[in-house]
């Protein structure tokens, strides 16, 4: 499949989604810009190019559509931006992010009925289990669509992840594509310093998974290619994981190169610098 033509049209989304991210976080002086910026290419590729779904026809049970779970729930800025721009809910609603009476909670929640969200996440390590349950349900329903999930790499320190990893291989849950944002950053510093994950590929392989990697998760074509390749590995009686190497804060120069921008908001001057680096392409909310 030749993908470069279509995917290139999506390049215009990248600076726009990054504008949304920094504007949303700046407006309430709260939220998580770093991981959001680093996952921008992933979200655009997944929602606009990979998933077989109809954002206008969101249903909780997700029958006959590909569905996605965000396990590292704190990167709502990128999630909400791409959900809105994909048509799950009005783009204008991004203004309400983290404000009182909003459907756009700090971490994703079903409680307010926001289309696109199927489970609350944010307390880390839980999304993979939920995604596996949804994948089992698809099998029981004879639904041939795929379940996608994103985990942070720091999140893999949670024990529940490895319970789920064992379960997936044992029960041959092969209609799921798990992706990992391997930015090597977490709140207290580099993942390798806080609690080293070691050889992640070898760990998943030892658990009985098929492992794919994307060396540059901040290149739209590379990540789209990697997702296509990883998806082609599904339905072979083994769960599939794609390890995506990304840069936290990618696209805003002063937010790159450290873990410092995990969960802090830019001030007015920093916002302007971030916006200058990401021109308006699709129209600000």
């Amino acid at each position: 499949m030749s993908i470069t033509k279509d995917i290139k049209e999506l390049e215009a989304w990248l600076p726009q989604v990054r504008r949304d991210i920094v504007r949303m976080v700046h407006a309430v002086q709260s939220g998580h810009p770093g991981g959001s910026l680093g996952c921008t290419e992933f979200f655009v590729a997944l929602f606009q190019y990979i998933m077989d779904h109809d954002p206008k026809k969101f249903t909780m049970d997700g029958r006959d559509q590909d569905i996605f779970f965000l396990s590292n729930g704190h990167i709502t800025p990128v999630y909400y931006s791409v959900l809105a721009r994909s048509g799950f809910f009005p783009i204008e609603e991004l203004r309400t992010f983290r404000r009182i009476n909003s459907r756009l909670q700090g971490h994703p929640a079903t409680h307010e009925g926001l289309p696109g969200i199927r489970v609350a996440t944010g307390s880390l390590g839980q999304g993979l289990s939920v995604a596996l349950g949804a994948a089992l349900a698809k099998k029981l329903n004879g639904d041939l669509h795929t379940v996608f999930t994103l985990q942070g790499d720091g999140e893999l320190q949670e024990g529940q992840i490895w319970e789920a990893a064992m379960f997936a291989a044992h029960h041959k849950v092969d209609n799921i594509l798990v992706t990992i944002d391997r930015n090597n950053r977490q709140i207290d510093g580099d993942v390798s310093d806080v609690m080293d994950l070691g050889d992640l590929k070898a760990k998943f392989e030892a658990f009985g998974w098929l492992v794919a990697e994307c060396e540059n998760g901040n290149n739209l074509i590379e990540i789209a290619d990697a997702l296509l390749l990883a998806k082609s590995l599904t339905r072979n009686e083994k769960p599939v994981v794609l390890i995506m190497h990304t840069e936290m804060g990618h696209g805003v120069d002063f937010m790159m190169g450290s873990h410092e921008w995990h969960g802090i908001a830019p001030n007015d001057e920093q916002l302007q610098r971030a916006l200058e680096q990401n021109p308006e392409t699709l129209g600000d909310y």
Binding site: V119, S129, A135
Partner: protein
């Protein structure tokens, strides 16, 4: 209403759950079951054998089990999870809170070996805090049926209720005295014996103990009203208030810590609507220990004699 309840042959409530689950499997093809290496203890073997494609062994990984159950609801299934009460609640509280309760998932958390009557395994496994933990979660229904027949009926009933449910039952063989053909109505207390002197609200295994206490009290000329509060949340306010309006005092009896359980749930209703004296029959803020169920119930103050004594005390307080 005379106390004519007789034990039709002791059976464990967990077997009532197992029988209910098997019947549900036949009735409803959306019902699925998950177990964390306790299939035999939870009496889930029947379902597992009859519906292997709808049974998921998760191994000793309760946190994962709760998440997978939440995920199965997303495809429209009704998952029943099975493990001991201790591992169904405290061990996985955050998973239940975020993935199930806050996300309003249609998961039935089925918990065996609750309370002291677990017996010889000791306090590591005898959870006495689970009712409190679960009733604090918004939207969670909390049910503690009293015998085999009622546990089976409750198991069938919770499949018809949309939303998270905590179903608590136990290990020992226990008198089976409620009707075999009963329909179970969530949130509807059952008055077993009418009386005018004292209201005794009991849940789970302690309902049978309350019926024995009623006889002890009757021998002393005291007419106790015995009410089975099988659903602790949502609690039947009307039944509680109607009873205490008549009797003017209340005793609660539960196989649980005195903090956070049935006693507190009843007290909240009484205190805010019709204050009357209340006495608790519950474990006095301690852990349990190894021993035979009947020895433990005696040592920790959960006998018919304890209930009768509490009734006498609370009636005395009513006079002042």
């Amino acid at each position: 209403m005379k106390n004519t309840y007789t034990d039709s042959g002791a059976k464990d409530t967990r077997s009532g759950f197992g029988a209910g689950l098997l019947e549900l499997g036949r009735r409803n093809d959306r019902v699925v079951a998950l177990c964390a290496d306790l299939t035999g203890s939870l009496k889930m073997d029947g379902f597992k054998k009859a519906f292997p494609e709808r049974f998921f062994q998760v191994g000793i990984a309760e946190a994962n089990m709760m998440g997978i159950a939440a995920g199965l609801t997303i495809g429209g299934f009704i998952p029943f999870t099975g493990t001991f009460a201790n591992f169904s609640t405290g061990r996985v509280y955050d998973q239940i809170r975020q993935s199930i309760a806050y996300s309003h998932k249609n998961v039935k958390i089925c918990a065996s070996h609750a309370g002291l009557t677990l017996g010889e395994d000791g306090a590591t496994h005898q959870i006495l805090e689970d009712i409190g933990l679960m009733r604090m979660l918004p939207g969670m229904v909390v049910i503690n049926p009293c015998d085999y027949n009622q546990t089976k009926a409750a198991t069938l009933a919770i499949a018809e209720h949309y939303g998270p449910v905590y179903l608590r039952f136990g290990r020992p063989k226990w008198p089976n005295f409620t009707p075999e053909d009963q329909t179970f109505e969530i949130g509807k207390a059952i008055t077993l014996v009418e009386g005018k002197d004292v209201s005794i609200f009991a849940t789970g295994h302690m309902v049978w103990m309350a019926l024995q206490a009623q006889k002890l009290l009757a021998d002393r000329g005291i007419e106790a009203e015995i009410i089975n509060i099988h659903t602790i949340k949502p609690i039947d306010r009307e039944a509680i208030l109607n009873s205490v309006a008549k009797t003017g005092c209340a005793v609660t009896a539960e196989e649980h810590n005195r903090y956070g359980g049935l006693g507190d749930a009843v007290a909240q209703v009484i205190l805010t609507a019709h204050p009357v004296p209340q006495e608790y029959v519950a474990v006095n803020d301690s852990f349990g220990e190894s021993g035979k169920p009947e020895e433990l119930l005696a040592k920790y103050g959960l006998t018919p004699e304890n209930i009768a004594a509490a009734a006498v005390r609370v009636m005395e307080r009513k006079k002042h």
